[in-house]
Amino acid sequence: MNLMGLFRSPQNELEKGGKEAEDAGIRSACPRCGVQLPLSDLQENMNVCTACGYHFRVGPRERIAYLTDEGSFYELDGDLLSRDLLDFPAYDQKLRNAKLASREKDAVVTGAAHILGHPCALFVMDPNFMMGSMGTVVGEKITRLFEFATGTGAPVVGFTVSGGARMQEGIHSLMQMAKTSAAVRRHGEAGLFYLTVLTDPTTGGVTASFAMDGDVIMAEPGATIGFAGARVIEQTIRKKLPQGFQTAEFLLDHGFVDLIVPRAQQRETIGRLLQLHDPGSIGMAEEEMGGGLE
């Protein structure tokens, strides 16, 4: 093994990481209102701007901490690694960079968890890993999670964030859309509940597969959600897009999401939805009402 090779690239990446950390700094500027936010305030406020409510992008570990009951998250398939299936130029290097930037092995974290006491299978995609692009590892982990949930009778809660397909995996990336959709379908046919939470940005092949398959589709305020990227649409129609196009609010108006829930309220809303879909609570209600529901 070439140890020098191992040393060189992490060094470059550490420099990069250092610069990013500096950018985040003690204060962080809100991309929407420009207010300088003390990092501690931002962290305390779940990375939502205290001045304007802008929802910063966050990684899966933060979301899992915001969402799940302490110590309840049990990660699944955490060791799957993407391979350079097509011998695609520079893909290996991109994967290495993404691992360093995100401190994850690929663009989704999956596992079992409790949310306000309700068990569920959970997946959370990662904007810091190649902008959540879907390759075979993303598709495989999500498929396995749905198969696990189908087998154990668990609901699935999924947070999506994705720029679209993992181009470097070519047709294998496209096939993930089919694979995940089929697994979602089997979970649904077993009568199990699937909740998606669309976060900024959710686009391309993820939108056109499991993101839009939820029984209930929730979105984070202001999130960009769509199939085609805004630039591609502008090039196609040769016009500027109207203000607010492809936002969570736009999708709500057009009937494609059920509800928009700010980050601070997501845990509570998700807990309620899980409770409402818990076959156990229906059984209990029946008992309390003396079989009056039959």
Partner: protein, 253 residues
């Protein structure tokens, strides 16, 4: 022939479009229109036909053959209502236990304002989910361009075949070159790297068959013969077995 030459060939104007396959492979095609929700999308043609004596549901993406027709058909780039029409006809095929045959030829689902407003992503997602358990045999044939999710929405099938000079890709070589390398001129490299030719598809197990293109009359005849050979076996397969095989077909990727 380079990968990019194949892309050019797959897009070339002289190439037969969906309608030509319908006409030459089946008898008595009866076109059915509309998604019952919003509109009839001319980019997707669907209806009923006979394969010999066997009634089938046929769905084809149609690019059009002259300028006027190409404009009307939006160059074969479907809107959500096209995918919803396709799904409606497929669900009908399921009800009446007819097999479904799809012809796929698109640079991709349309990237327009209205398409987004009407849920392009949702329409494709729904087709994928529904097709994965459609309780009747489905065969999809890629005849020209297989452009990403917009093509896959009609190609989650029991068998997928591809014409010798057709291509199938997660992104166009142009899109790949400009996004990845910020250099649209590297389109040939992109075509090569993406491994998008019919031969690549066969090698990677994405398709079951490559249909030779000595001339298109022989291609039509071969498709007709192959359908007559393969469909009875799929029809005779118990539905749960058929769906399990379809699941595993895509599960392997």
């Amino acid at each position: 022939m380079s990968a990019y030459d194949k892309v050019i060939l797959a897009r070339s104007k002289g190439r037969p479009t969906g309608a030509a396959y319908i006409e030459n492979v089946f008898d008595g095609f009866l076109e059915l229109h509309g998604d019952r929700r919003f509109a009839d999308d001319p980019a997707i043609v669907g209806g009923l036909a006979l394969l010999g004596n066997l009634p089938v549901t046929v769905v084809a993406i149609e690019k059009g053959t002259d300028t006027k027709e190409r404009l009307r058909r939006n160059f074969g780039m479907p809107n959500p209502e096209g995918y919803r029409k396709a799904l409606r006809l497929m669900k009908q095929a399921e009800k009446f236990q007819r097999p479904v045959v799809c012809f796929v030829d698109t640079s991709g689902a349309y990237c327009g304002l209205g398409a987004e407003e009407r849920g392009q992503g949702q329409a494709i997602a729904e087709n994928l989910m529904e097709l994965s358990t459609l309780r009747t045999p489905v065969i999809s044939i890629l005849i020209g361009e297989g452009g990403s999710g917009g093509a896959l929405a009609l190609a989650l099938a029991d068998q997928v075949w591809i014409l010798e000079n057709a291509v199938y890709s997660v992104i166009s070589p142009e899109g790949c070159a400009s996004i990845l390398w910020k250099d649209p001129k590297r389109v040939k490299d992109a075509a090569e790297c993406l491994k998008l030719t019919a031969q690549d598809m066969e090698a990677m197990g994405v398709v079951e068959r490559v249909i030779p293109e000595e001339n298109f009359d022989s291609a039509y005849a071969q498709i007709k013969e192959l359908l007559a050979e393969v469909l009875p076996g799929l029809i005779a397969t118990p539905t749960d077995e058929l769906l399990e095989a379809r699941y595993q077909r895509f599960r392997k990727f």
